[in-house]
Amino acid sequence: MSEEKQTEYVTLVSCDGFEFKIKRSAAILAGAIKNMLDPNSRFQEGLTGRCEFENINGLVLDKVCEYLYYNEKHKDAKDMPDLDIPPELCLELLMAADYLNEREREKETNSMRRRYDKGRDFLATFWRFR
């Protein structure tokens, strides 16, 4: 897989058609988005830099983007003020957050990839020796 040059901004699209262009560095803080955008994952999103979410609407995705920037800004800070979340949005946002930012999921895919890499290496050596 050739290392293509990655764009600085990526596009997140909500189910009702709103597009949010945000910095890649912020977007990949969400585990799911990171996996989608990973060029090695061979998802289409990795090539186009465009993620479509069929179960997240514009309002929620707007808040998600706001959080991602907030998170990036306060990466190393302590005791920063919490992000303000409108109460009427919080349940939907909770679902979206759970979907987008699961560390476990991230870990899982990482370990899967590692296993995959190991297997590939093994096969490579296997074929070489044959």
């Binding site: 907030y70 990466k75 302590k78 979340i85 919080c90 946002l93 679902m95 957050a97």
Partner: protein
Amino acid sequence: MTGRRTGNRIRGPHSALTDFLAANNISAQQIRDSYQQRVQQAEAEDPAANDGQDNQDGAEEEDAEAAAEAAAAEAAIERTKKRKRRSEKAVAKVKESKAAAKKKAKKAKKGDDDSDESDGDYDDALENMYKKPKKLPGQLENCETCGKRFTVTPYSKAAPDGGLLCTPCGKLVAKDEKALAGKAKKPVAATKKRRKLESDRLDGLVRNGAKTLVQLCIEKVAQHHNDIEEFGDLPVGLLTRLGEIFGKNRVLNSRTLRLFLQPDLDTLAVHEAAYLETEDYEQIFAVIPRIKKLVLNNACQFKDSSVEYMKEKAGGITWLQLGAANLVSNDMWIKLFEERGANYETLKLTWLDAAFDDAAVAAMAQHCTNLTRLKLERCRQITPTGFEHIIHLPKLQHLTLHLSHEIPSDRLVAMLTTIGHQLQTLSLQRALDADDSFLAALHTTCNRLSKLRFCENDACTDAAYAALFTNWTNPPLRFVDLNSTRDIDNSNPDGPPDTTGLGDAGFQALMTHSGSKLEHLDVSSCRHISLACWLAVFDGRKQYPCLQTLNVNFCGTVDTTVVAGVFGSCPQLRKLETFGCFGVEDVRVPRGIVLVGAPRAQDQIEQFGEGWGAGRVVEVGA
């Protein structure tokens, strides 16, 4: 100006009359002026009446006297006014910060204009001269704002620029003040937030960077628990998390419980059920009859009838955890075990004072033959007789006991010889009577343990601990809690010559045996471990690759060097507690670690590692 001031201010004894005049605002200057005016008038009207020099002299003499008197009176007036002004100022400062600020600004301006520093007082006095005197209660006065005439009362408000206000205007001013006070209260909320932050830190919640979005949302949901109608199809993990937060915030009541009751669930954990009524418990089993795991803490209203209902409706429960269910009678416990006992794999009962006696334990041991986990904490009615039944549980793997009655050592040994070989968890809190024979039995019988808690014991010797951990067939332990195993004798603080409790030999044997797998270690109050031993164990070169939390509270010998050694030896360390270790100071805490319990008041009680990268460069002395 200064000259004039000193010239004017004649101080000395003064009569009651001058006081009276001053108090009633009668100025001698005024009297003199009006007198002179009258004299001049008289002169002008009747020049012929001017007799001669004598009269004139007398008048001059009178003038001088009047001048002296006037000066004295003026000084007195000034003094009382000053006093008044002072008290007024104090009131104004407290009540009307706005007005005070204005005044100050004015004064500051004046200060800028006048080069002479000591002019301030005089200017104030001058300013006050033009002010109306404060009226006493009962007198009539015109309101400063609206100009209406009103009767002064003790409660009349002072206007910002002096004078008094009528009742309606006073009320308006009071309202403004309240609003101001409200604004001033805001910092209190900030303090509260800070306190919460500190408490989080003490709980070991180290956090660098922002909270996760999930966490933020869950907190928000808990805040607005009253407005939620349903959760929708949230994943089970989130529901559990929400349940925990609701319990923690004590907002889990009949209404909010409904949100968590979804028929397709098989787990329900209510960690704070104090607000739930008997009907709510029945609702649980009516809505989720297929429930497998039930956790109810502080279930005060969980009664016989609820148990009956649970027994009939929810037959599939395999994990039952009840806290403080004191309205369930002994007979009901026995009945429950008779009918459903065989289902239970996990049973955790805590804080039972009123019931659950030895007979109930016997019934449990007889019928719950599939139990693998048993926890009986603070069940007051269980005696050593009841304890003996526990050994008849054939599949038990995890045993946690915290009983009020002391269990003799020989019974503990008997328990170990029967079921010790299959135990993975053994937690005995307050095992006061256990002695060296118990540790010896542990050494010979247990070979599958991964979690060991044995605390508050002052009978076992260091040699016995060392023997336990030396050449033990048991694999390395994951969790060890040996806190408060030490000799207690006020008259002999150093303890007997052969150490009682976990000492040097025991601690070193423990770390040699379990160091490679140990994740949590609690040796607080094991005060017989010496500094040399600490330094030998945590020398910065020996590695304890899994150790995450270490508690060395009240181990007096621990000092800064030891702490540095701990940082060097434990790459996975997250939290180190050092309350009561007075040798620990000025520690540089590596990133990602929290050190709790700095001994000096001016230091922060917990210290966070920051600024350092992954490499832990810790200088190790010694």
